[in-house]
């Protein structure tokens, strides 16, 4: 049975979670809204859609994969020994207050990073130690289109808890047993029939706020259309204004490209995994100097075709949750909704 908590008790609840878990929550920071580590008592903002998605909690922008150390024995100068210690990011974590589109982003990552073909230890360890408390989204932005790509603003089946705001109160539904353990009895009240109905109404109202910019059709047919449009001159035209920056990829909950570098300091160092972006001109630059994606339309075409074609073919998933961040943050107004519509109609 769902429980309810008053808005002014939220911090008490979060403080209690934070005493047992590493806790991420959306907060206002210097004019930006960001999902950030929670410090007791900090004001949270459940009405914003953070500029960066929740992927950063499970797939940090800079991640140390391992530390290494060379050892030399002066008596045997020809020999070098190497010791390696791999990171084990198994800290118990709660990601709190994220919208359903960000939960879909995490599920998407599972498909790629702990799918049938490949298991990423680091992501897997983080994910299996993480609980998610999602919030039904009543603040759809003008750029949101989660429903058009198969999502819903008010349900998050892969979360552990789902919060729904009704005026100054939050109804909290436990979707998993582990999620239920986060509900701190002392702070919550039981929920009557009337409140459950109110919750249902709030969810329905949220649904009607969304725009549906296109009808996707079956996933294989989408994959096919994008493949067929590969040579279309439209790509060049649609991306004329693009700056080849990393904004759309970095803010995206499903973009997962990374780069691995060794950061050496004399005899020791770290192996780092850092976000990369297929929109950067250097992303495909080869050592010979040749660049197979030298021109920005080729890079943008890759980004979208990856999401709407290659991932469908390879993993049977769509690489877009409809969060709209790439539209809102793109500095030159490139709107993937209109590009998708165009390709689907071409």
């Amino acid at each position: 049975m769902p429980k309810a908590i008053m808005q002014d008790k939220l911090n008490d609840w979060l403080d209690s979670i934070a005493s047992k878990y590493q806790l991420w929550a959306p907060q206002d920071k210097d004019g930006a809204c960001l999902l950030s580590p929670y410090t007791p008592g900090a004001p949270v903002n459940l009405k914003c859609r953070p500029q960066l998605s929740a992927k950063k909690a499970l797939f940090p922008q800079t991640e140390c994969l391992l530390k290494y150390q060379y050892h030399k024995d002066k008596s045997k100068p020809e020999e070098t020994e190497l010791s390696i210690s791999a990171a084990n990011p198994n800290q118990k974590t709660v990601i709190w207050g994220i919208a359903p589109c960000d939960v879909s982003g995490i599920s998407f990552f599972e498909n790629v990073f702990i799918g049938a073909g490949y298991q990423d230890t680091y992501f897997k360890t983080r994910r299996s130690n993480t609980l998610i408390a999602a919030i039904a989204c009543q603040h759809a932005e003008s750029t949101c289109f989660c429903e058009a790509v198969g999502g819903s603003p008010v349900s998050a089946p892969d979360a552990d808890l789902l919060l729904t705001r009704i005026d100054h109160e939050y109804v909290v539904e436990a979707l998993t047993n582990e999620g239920a353990t986060l509900i701190d009895e002392g702070l919550f009240t039981t929920v009557e029939e009337a409140k459950l109905n109110a919750m249902q109404q709030v969810k329905e109202a949220a649904l009607s706020k969304l725009s549906k910019p296109f009808e996707l059709g079956s996933l294989p047919s989408v994959a096919d259309k994008f493949l067929k449009a590969f040579e279309s001159p439209y790509w060049k035209e649609a991306t004329a204004a693009c700056l080849s920056c990393g904004i759309c990829t970095f803010v995206c909950p499903t973009c997962y490209c990374f780069n691995i570098t060794d950061e050496a300091q004399g005899m020791h160092g770290q192996r780092l995994r850092c976000w990369d972006a297929c929109m950067f001109s250097t992303y495909t630059l080869e050592a010979s100097g040749h660049n197979p994606r030298n021109i920005k339309f080729q890079r943008y075409r890759n980004r979208l075709s990856h999401k709407f074609s290659y991932l469908i073919t390879n993993n049977n998933v769509l690489g877009c949750t409809g969060c709209g961040r790439c539209i809102k943050e793109c500095p030159v107004g490139i709107d993937l909704r209109s590009i998708i519509s165009h390709i689907l109609a071409e």
Binding site: A240, L243, G246
Partner: protein, 322 residues
């Protein structure tokens, strides 16, 4: 600016046969945004817009070093574009650096009444539900289904527009509309002076906090009209690996400080680097600080005179000011 839209469309149609593309503004993803528009066919001229949201500095698309052949414009092709006063400084500077050819560009100039910073509207109204906007020179009315607000333009302009020294395009082939009086008593480096009033420790804490937020998306560099080093940029080279792959306050600091040095007397103060920043970092202030130093030393202002050699491109054996 609406009143000169018809005139702009007429001029655009006139020059279109001479250029491969005319770069201007079209509508954006909602009523509070416009977006760069590349017009090739006469039929598309009707898509032109001119409003208080045409903030983009279209000069970013000019340097051929920045965009390899094949993206849209080929080297040597003529380009037409519409430029605001501040944007035209970038063109003048690129000409002074001989980075672009004057014969390649046809510029339509206009008077500008200032652009609206959508971030300054956020606290006034739900910017996601705007369904009508009415604007004139002094004020703006925004409507949602539930609500309407009006605002004094001065309160919601971009910082750079609040005191605009160059509201009219400084270099153009065709000027449309009547020139606007520049604002009086403009302190061009005002924001830098504000930061300088902080103590050293406060200022360093301020920048540490900003650098810690930076996600190194490189949008500030990519939008900058005078950042055209492409793959040779310090941020992208691997040998030497100037900037660590690690994204943290420390390595971000190196990126931004070195870049600021490369922008000394080259930054044209268009503010685009700060506008595009997804983390809302006022990164333009670093280059502005370098400009203020060069102004103090040599009286140099970038992007004002095509014939003055920018300080970074010249030197004297005996500098009298150093």
């Amino acid at each position: 600016m609406k009143d000169i839209l018809a005139e702009l469309k007429k001029k655009a149609a006139e020059i279109l046969p001479e250029v491969s593309y005319f770069i201007c503004y079209g509508s954006g993803f909602d009523l509070l945004h416009s977006a760069p528009l590349f017009v090739k066919d006469k039929g598309d001229i009707d898509r032109l817009v001119l409003n208080r949201f045409c903030i983009h500095n279209l000069t970013s698309y000019l340097p051929p070093q920045k965009w390899p052949p094949g993206w849209l414009l080929e080297p040597g092709e003529k380009i037409g574009l519409v430029l605001k006063g501040c944007d035209s400084r970038s063109v003048i500077h690129l000409l002074a650096e001989k980075a672009i050819l004057r014969s390649r560009v046809i510029i339509i100039g206009l008077p500008c009444w200032g652009m609206i910073d959508v971030n300054k509207l956020r606290n006034r109204i739900d910017i996601n539900r705007i369904n009508r906007v009415e604007q004139d020179k002094e004020s703006i009315m925004l409507f949602t289904d539930a609500n309407e607000v009006s605002a004094d333009i001065k309160d919601i302009l971009y910082d750079k527009c609040i005191n605009c020294q160059y509201p009219n395009t400084l270099i153009s082939d065709h000027f449309i509309g009547a020139k606007k009086e520049p604002d009086k008593g403009v302190q061009p480096f005002g924001k830098v002076l504000e930061l300088e009033r902080m103590s050293l420790l406060e200022r360093s804490a301020f920048w540490d906090k900003e650098f810690a937020r930076c996600i190194r998306c490189k949008a500030c560099r990519n939008v900058c009209p005078v950042c055209y080093c492409q793959n040779n940029c310090l941020l992208d080279t691997r040998v030497p690996h100037w900037i660590k792959e690690r994204v943290d306050a420390n390595s971000n600091r190196w990126y931004h400080l070195i870049r600021a040095f490369h922008l000394a007397g080259r930054c044209t103060e268009c503010g685009e680097c700060a506008r595009v920043c997804p983390m809302r970092i006022p990164i333009n202030l670093l280059a502005m600080k370098m400009n203020s130093e060069l102004f103090e030393l040599f009286g140099f202002r970038s992007g004002i005179d095509v014939n003055i050699k920018p300080p970074l491109m010249t030197f004297q054996l005996e500098e009298d000011k150093l």
